[in-house]
Symmetry: C2
């Protein structure tokens, strides 16, 4: 079955997205008709959202791939993120009327996009109140999750030296794992990219810390040491 007669999106697809997670296929028709989303297809490299616009809708990629780009005063472009099917974009702006887009959204491939008006998500309608609640919960949870991820990354990056950045990150990973021994989800290059430092310098620093007895590691497995080993 497809949503609102749009052939590109099925309820089976929607109920797996973070936005609609927790709703069932029989609830979705009511919810979708209440949200009254718009559907649009974009050709490759077509601009979906322009930097400087004021948007009030949340976008969800149905198929294809959308890239979020930033362009500075001198025209230097920077790819911020890839948005894949089932993922949303523009949430931060859609709920802040008057806040102008600081990024652009471009279809990196031929893409289909669903646009949901933020007000429809928040305002209560008689028929689908319960589903709205779920939707808003999902939205808030996603926003909170993104917030945490950004705060954590920022807390590592606000450290001045590579060593401090590493310690901040590893300490955080140790806390997540609830153990002084843990695996990280990055290889060296990815970790360096995440912490915005040079890979070789970082590798060097890791080995120095190992030699000083602060930690040990093997590939992506790490162990932190509170006291200098004998």
């Amino acid at each position: 079955m497809s949503a609102q007669g749009n052939p590109q999106v099925s309820y089976a697809f929607l109920k797996k997205t973070t936005l609609f997670r927790g709703t069932t296929e029989d609830e979705l028709p009511t919810l979708i008709s209440c949200l009254a989303p718009g559907y649009r297809d974009f050709a490759k490299n077509e601009i979906i959202l322009h930097q400087g616009e004021d948007i009030t809708s949340v976008g969800m990629v149905l198929s294809g791939r959308v890239q979020i780009l930033e362009e500075d005063f001198w025209g230097n472009r920077n790819i911020i993120a890839d948005v894949w099917p089932g993922e949303t974009f523009g949430e931060s702006y859609a709920f802040l009327p008057g806040e102008l887009l600081r990024v652009s959204a471009v279809a990196a491939e031929p893409s289909a996009v669903m646009m949901i008006d933020a007000r429809h998500m928040l305002e209560i309608c008689s028929s689908a109140c319960r589903f709205h609640t779920r939707l808003v919960q999902n939205m808030l949870a996603e926003s909170a999750k993104k917030n945490l991820a950004l705060t954590m990354k920022l807390s590592h990056m606000s450290k001045r030296t590579t060593r401090e950045k590493l310690l901040s990150y590893l300490s955080s990973q140790s806390l997540s794992a609830g153990s002084d021994q843990f695996e990280i989800p990055f290889n060296r290059q990815q970790l360096a990219d995440y912490l915005c430092v040079d890979r070789s310098a970082m590798s060097n620093e890791l080995c120095k810390m190992r030699d000083e007895g602060m930690l040990s590691f093997d590939k992506s497995s790490f162990q932190l040491k509170s006291e200098i080993e004998v």
Copy 2:
């Protein structure tokens, strides 16, 4: 008039907070009784939330001052933020059940705190549905705003050199102002702290860029130049 007989919080105070903004004083009693918040007083240096806890409530400072602290694996402490009366804390965690606190909250002064269960904020009750909607709107808007601020700061800080960080920040400010001429809300030391670089090195870099004709400035007034001036 005071909320729920708690002498420390007035409706006049609440309706000015970001969380309750947009509600009127006659709506607040219904809303508050529906939210059923808890109230607690904390002595100076008393711990309000422990790192590692799993919280489900949003905290609002009513009086005093609350500090958010981070402690790493080796016990190094770091002050993340000050929370002042009317401001909230713990939002990111309260809406993510199972996510353990990576920070602690401590009363920096004798403080009164209101705790609102996140589920009460989201779940629909028959009597105060409209006010709930407003509350959730405010919550989402705050989360989105914080998200944007973090994303912007991160986009500056992910640049490797001081010059690139400056250009990213100034470009962003220029976009906000909608002009190549604008004022920044920082002095040099504050800007250096925000970008996590050394003040003198940053000052030096600013002057170099000025001499190269990329921009001009006087105190906190800046002007960016797209072409080299003749």
